[in-house]
Symmetry: C2
Subunit: 429 residues, 2 copies
């Protein structure tokens, strides 16, 4: 992409509700536009990041045998009445023109359970070992939140990955739950999200026995987390008794004092048990031909919130830091000065494009400082600067961000193509 | 995928509202499940088809320089008031908890125009030649239809690709409109949708000057189309005066009688002009630094409806026909009889999987007829039958569907792997 053709606006005056660095970066960098309060449009640049995040999640879930599918955003209210959840507060209800009472689904336990009760007949249809099934979708969700906050961190409408497992027993659920927990850590690592820990979480509206949240430790977080430095205990404040009363709490496991931190929830997994499958009448025949009720788990990742978190953990509101898998452009070429530099930049650009590498090029006549500032906002991990001074020395200048390893500050002009390809291969997930 | 693990239900009793062959095939084949009236869940099998359709559309739009982005499903009613469209009948309105009047967007002209007015400043940001911009999204839409019909053909909730172009002049819009019209024909061809014609269409709620519909000629269609056999005139009934009054109409171009057909609308493109950009105050500076209002076009494809149409044009309600690009599985291997056949089938299966080819395998002990019936419903274009009788002759038996060319009925066992890879390459888009 030639930078002058990027359809983007660098906001100069930021709205007063942009109180976090990541929210300001999202607007300054032109990743999102606020269509309404808590309702965002993703620009072509922002959408590339969102898509890359989705693909990483998809690959890791497919790798553990989950199957992608898709459920409607709107559903009959009657399904929610079956489980007694028709009055939870984020549920947007309306009557459709044909007269049916409907809801915009804030989550899909009822919908997936209705689907599964129509399809599941035999244990043979539970393809994972031991007999389990895990269905997931990546979909826009709407929750009628009273207050939107911090851009992509708490929206009314957001992108979510929600997965639902159906298992033959609690033991089986437990083992699948751990497989998913490990997959989640792998996903956050590949996304380049630092400081994500799993903690004990309350089960809330969902019901069920055990729940974990994945929290990115951050001062902008809404959640209060307690962790123990002597043992492995860590939990959401809401799990602990009298949590409202005191600031210093005692670890229920080892008796030591707990440390208080703030976090942003980037995922949440639940052992639901038979709450939904029992009330909605799901059954299958086991190996002995006996009717059984499956045990259920559910597993969410806030896809657009992860995007918001990546912006929050970037350097500051002027510099986006993404790793190579997530970055909207992998390489950003800047030419400074004469035609010779432009020609060299264009040659490298065309080479990288033909190698299938998403590359940004800036050969405009803007001043160098402005070009670097734009590159900072776009966050390509590999930056190449072509200038007359460098050409004189037979080199191009390199800058990196979001990469784990160190690479040279310059490359010889005749080596730079191969070297960039090598760095990209070196960083593949 | 091993067929016994496919999470699917072959419906025996079909609902009484499944009145078209394609709707019955969608339910019998387990592609969709009805969550509510006009509200469908896509099974993992159905979702694969939907995804393949989306990818073809995405590739062809990217090839003509369109940029993918994403807009919210819910938006403030105030945006719709700016263009005076706040009372169109498929608009679902509600008040969100914070008090704002909101709508579920049935289309996104207002939303994209609001986005563009915030970003567009200069003609330089219109990257297509001559200066144009085309933004698109592939997204779930909800329209509060009074009556849902024929499964995926008319749903309340459906998957849509909607694109919006911003051009510097009517001439520029006209030339981009034709580029898009040609891209649409290319898309329908790659999707394997036969009998799609473009016809003159009414502009309706959208406003604007010229509109074309893409209609799949079909007896199950809701639209009445008139075509001339002497000249190139073809139009939706609604374009012609007095169309309600008579069954036989005269072509306004050549004076001959028009032929009446029925069609399913699978796409619709509009030259909107400045209806939205003017009322919502979009402007940019041209090369002379003068303020100009962009001219707009919009371009829709009903993604899930295309899926429905592909099922409608399949042989009958027992056999799905997809081409190689759209098919959920490319190859379907069936072994009949002894262990030797199973081993050979599994060997071929593992080879194709490692070559990255989505393959279904059926080595169950079901009777052959039932296996063939299942394969018919799944619609893999290449079917391989491994049986003791064939092995005796050193061959496997081949069956094909949805391919343009003819291929041999048998392959020698030691050649089959290479031959299948060749057929797949031969059919790549």
């Amino acid at each position: 992409m030639e930078i002058e053709k990027l359809f983007i606006k660098r906001m100069k005056e930021l709205p007063s509700d942009a109180t976090t660095p990541g929210h300001r970066l999202a607007l300054k960098g032109g990743y999102i536009h606020q269509t309404g309060s808590g309702l965002y449009t993703y620009s072509p640049l922002g959408f590339k990041v969102l898509k890359n995040i989705e693909d990483i999640i998809r690959q890791e879930l497919d790798a553990i045998g989950c199957q992608e599918m898709n459920m409607p955003i709107v559903s009959p209210l009657s399904l929610w009445k079956e489980t007694g959840r028709e009055n939870i507060d984020v549920l947007l209800k309306f009557k459709i023109r044909s007269g049916m009472d409907a809801v915009v689904n804030p989550t899909h336990e009822e919908i997936v359970t209705d689907y599964v009760r129509n399809v599941l007949q035999s244990y043979k249809q539970l393809p994972l070992s031991p007999s389990s099934l895990c269905l997931y979708q990546i979909q826009t969700k709407y929750r009628d939140e009273l207050r939107a906050r911090a851009g992509l961190i708490r929206c009314r409408e957001f992108m979510m990955k929600d997965a639902y497992s159906f298992n033959i027993s609690w033991e089986d659920l437990d083992s699948f739950y751990n497989i998913m927990l490990n997959a989640y850590h792998k996903i956050y690592k590949r996304l380049g999200l630092d400081n994500v820990i799993d903690i004990l979480a309350p089960t809330g509206d969902m019901g069920g026995k055990i729940s974990h949240e994945f929290q990115m430790i951050s001062d902008i977080g809404e959640d209060t987390i307690y962790i123990c430095s002597s043992c492995d205990y860590r939990a959401n404040k809401e799990v602990l008794t009298d949590a409202d009363a005191e600031d210093i709490l005692i670890c229920p496991k080892c008796g030591n004092k707990l440390k208080k931190l703030r976090g942003v929830e980037v995922g949440n997994i639940f052992q639901l048990g038979d709450k939904y499958t029992k009330s909605m009448g799901v059954s299958y025949l086991d190996q002995e031909g006996k009717k059984q009720t499956p045990i259920m788990g559910c597993y969410g990742i806030g896809v657009s919130r992860v995007f918001g978190c990546l912006l929050e953990q970037s350097c500051d509101e002027s510099k986006a830091v993404f790793n190579l898998e997530v970055a909207p452009y992998k390489v950003h070429i800047i030419s400074i000065g004469d035609e010779q530099a432009k020609t060299l930049a264009n040659d490298l650009y065309n080479y990288l494009l033909s190698a299938g590498i998403e590359t940004m090029i800036d050969t405009t006549d803007d001043r160098a400082g402005s070009k670097f500032a734009n590159a900072d906002l776009i966050g390509a991990p590999i930056r190449v600067i072509v200038s007359p001074k460098n050409i004189e020395h037979g080199v191009v200048e390199m800058k990196y961000s979001g990469l784990q390893k160190q690479y040279p500050d310059t490359f010889k002009i005749d080596e730079v193509k191969d070297k960039i390809i090598e760095i990209i291969k070196d960083n593949q997930g």
